[in-house]
């Protein structure tokens, strides 16, 4: 058997000035699962993800990745898709691939080229000339071309048109390795809920629910999307 790895949040709190972004979060993310991190805007999704990736360092509590604080080792285990484009505009898509190849030993160049092709993206395209949706697609291709333990995708569907969402889900499912953990933050739940094992609901920085999706449907007779709408009714 493969031994399970996990990301563990213990009593994690974080505030930006007077704004409490996370309060007392206790969560365990295990490999072998696809987990949906769900919450309305400003509920703390991206803050959690930034902590996992070591981009935020001043917070209370601990966040351990396979037993360690975020460091170089944890970064090599995590393939991270940020919620905004981060490549220089003058670069070509191919330049970004080179960068990934230099930085990550687990990057699969050939796979990435295949994915770009499926997404209809030309490697010689300048990033400057890509639309928001194209940038998202291309960054997703990069991230899914690594063989990582954890894939952390922050809003992978936000700028992508509905027709391409199916393709992206397919790419995610095909390239996700069953022994890894996939964490996807989103508020486009109905498009994606069928691929989740588990969901985490974040409300004002607090985890209000962590549950297996099928159990949730069994108990409520409702879709995750509908439950979400009830919990977060404005």
């Amino acid at each position: 058997m493969n031994d399970k790895k996990c990301i563990e949040f213990e009593n994690v709190s974080k505030s930006y000035g007077s704004k409490q972004a996370l309060s007392n979060v206790n969560v365990k993310l295990e490999t072998g699962k696809i987990i949906g991190l769900l919450g309305p805007n400003g509920s703390g999704k991206t803050t959690m993800i930034k902590i996992i990736n070591g981009l935020l360092r001043s917070y209370q509590g601990t966040c351990l990745i396979d037993g360690q604080l975020p460091n170089e080792v944890s970064k090599s285990m995590i393939s991270y898709l940020p919620d905004e484009p981060y490549f220089q505009e003058w670069m070509k898509i191919k330049d970004a691939l080179n960068l990934f190849r230099d930085h990550y030993q687990d990057f699969d160049w050939a796979l990435c080229m295949t994915l770009l092709d499926r997404l209809g993206l030309d490697p010689n395209l300048k990033i400057k000339s890509c639309s928001k949706g194209m940038k998202e697609k291309f960054q997703l291709a990069l991230v899914m071309s690594r063989k990582a333990q954890f894939y952390i995708l922050d809003e992978p569907l936000g700028g992508v048109d509905p027709a391409a969402r199916e393709l992206i889900l397919d790419i995610i499912l095909k390239n996700y390795n069953e022994n890894s953990c996939l964490l996807i933050s989103t508020h486009l739940i109905s498009d994606i809920e069928k691929i989740f094992d588990e969901i985490i609901f974040l409300k004002n920085g607090e985890v209000v629910l962590q549950k297996n999706c099928e159990e949730l449907r069994n108990e409520t007779g409702k879709s995750v999307d509908e439950t979400f709408r009830e919990v977060f009714k404005c």
Partner: protein, 123 residues
């Protein structure tokens, strides 16, 4: 089949689909089932959902798992006939329930069925 009703656990819906394939003979006794990974892609769902589907189908003895070689459709014709009857029963019960909701009584059903059947097969 890609359109799941997200109000119902997905493993149940995949189970139903596989059961239908068994009943209609698309999957024959002793046929080998596709792997978890393949089915996950066909149905565009999480591999663990397919795993769960298989577990439940095994519990109902419709699928047998051979340790190393994979999973096979059950060879027991009786069991498959039972399954066919159970699924038929469910369709008919749902049908009667809905007619009751529309205000029809037991005695109305045969005549109604005749009427609609004619129209249906004309098409």
């Amino acid at each position: 089949m890609k359109n799941f009703d997200s109000n119902i656990p997905i493993y149940l819906q995949v189970m139903d689909d596989i059961k239908k394939q068994i009943i209609t003979g698309k999957l024959k006794p002793n046929d080998k089932l596709s792997s978890v990974r393949e089915l996950a892609q066909t149905y565009a769902v999480n591999p663990n959902t397919i795993q769960r589907t298989f577990q439940e189908l095994e519990k109902e003895d419709l699928v047998k798992s051979e340790r190393t070689s994979g999973r096979y459709v059950c060879a027991d014709e009786n069991r498959i006939n039972n399954l066919r009857f159970k699924m038929t029963e469910k369709v008919i019960c749902d049908f009667i329930n809905e007619l009751n909701e529309l205000g029809y009584k037991e005695n109305d059903i045969p005549q109604l069925l005749e009427q609609v059947k004619e129209k249906y097969y004309e098409r």
